[in-house]
């Protein structure tokens, strides 16, 4: 454990900041339709929040929050949400990812498109954040195993 990880100031600041970073990430994902933001940016911020926590409190504490299995499931879930939305459009009689074809609000296809774009952005965000977390854990895992031995 390095000196930075033992510092009380750093640990306290990280413990206070991480929930707000995650909240901001959700805001950026959900705000992608109406302002600067989107799934990729928000997903990276979410992943960075978890990575910050794992850097200061240790890899094992981070893996307790998001385990490897959960990580893999989340990464595939996001992609499935996106592809499933495309498939939903085909089932509804449109082309792949033609959002207006989904008969949620028959009189206003642009409104349907707005909500489905938000949905797709959530899928992108889940995949990107899960992949970012998994990259960090993969690159750092040999050191933590050596520390245990």
């Amino acid at each position: 454990m390095s000196r930075i990880q033992e510092s009380v100031i750093v640990r306290t600041v990280v413990r206070i900041m991480v929930p707000f970073i995650l909240l901001f990430a959700l805001y950026v994902i959900m705000h992608g339709a109406g302002g600067p933001g989107g799934g990729f940016q928000g997903g990276v911020i979410f992943g960075a929040g978890i990575i910050l926590y794992a850097m200061i409190y240790g890899i094992d504490a981070g893996k307790k929050k998001i385990s490897d299995a959960l990580d893999r499931i989340l990464a595939s879930t996001g992609l499935t949400i996106y592809a499933g939305t495309g498939l939903l459009c085909i089932i509804s009689g449109g082309m792949l990812l033609q959002y207006g074809a989904v008969p949620l609000l028959p009189d206003n296809p642009a409104e349907v498109s707005k909500y489905l774009i938000d949905f797709v952005e959530i899928g992108i965000g889940i995949t990107v954040s899960a992949v970012m977390i998994s990259l960090f854990f993969d690159v750092s895992s040999p050191e933590s195993e050596e520390a245990e031995e």
């Binding site: 893999r72 495309g86 774009i117 998994s134």
Partner: protein, 91 residues
């Protein structure tokens, strides 16, 4: 070897700067890319067709939705490739 690399780099840079003389000026509103009717179409119609005020999001998720699906697959595949390369087998 380093001299050769430096020579190649300077030559390529000089060629790029020479070729870049024909590019539109910085911030030019009459540049062909901005005056093209695709750009004007997206700026005028993306809200009524996608219902999203952010033109970049409308382009990304609606007009280029298939491309973004592939993009998400790329990042997913990169994550899986790193897992294959680095993760030790669970005992």
């Amino acid at each position: 070897m380093k001299t050769l690399a430096l020579f190649v780099v300077i030559l390529a840079g000089a060629m790029l700067i020479y070729a870049g003389q024909d590019l539109p000026a910085f911030g030019d509103i009459n540049s062909p890319a901005y005056q093209h009717r695709m750009t004007q179409y997206f700026i005028e119609n993306s809200l009524s067709e996608s219902g999203v005020p952010n033109i970049v999001t409308a382009l990304l998720a609606n007009y280029r939705g298939y491309d973004t699906l592939g993009e998400t697959t790329v990042i997913f595949t990169a994550g899986m490739a790193v897992i294959l390369l680095l993760r030790r087998r669970e005992k």
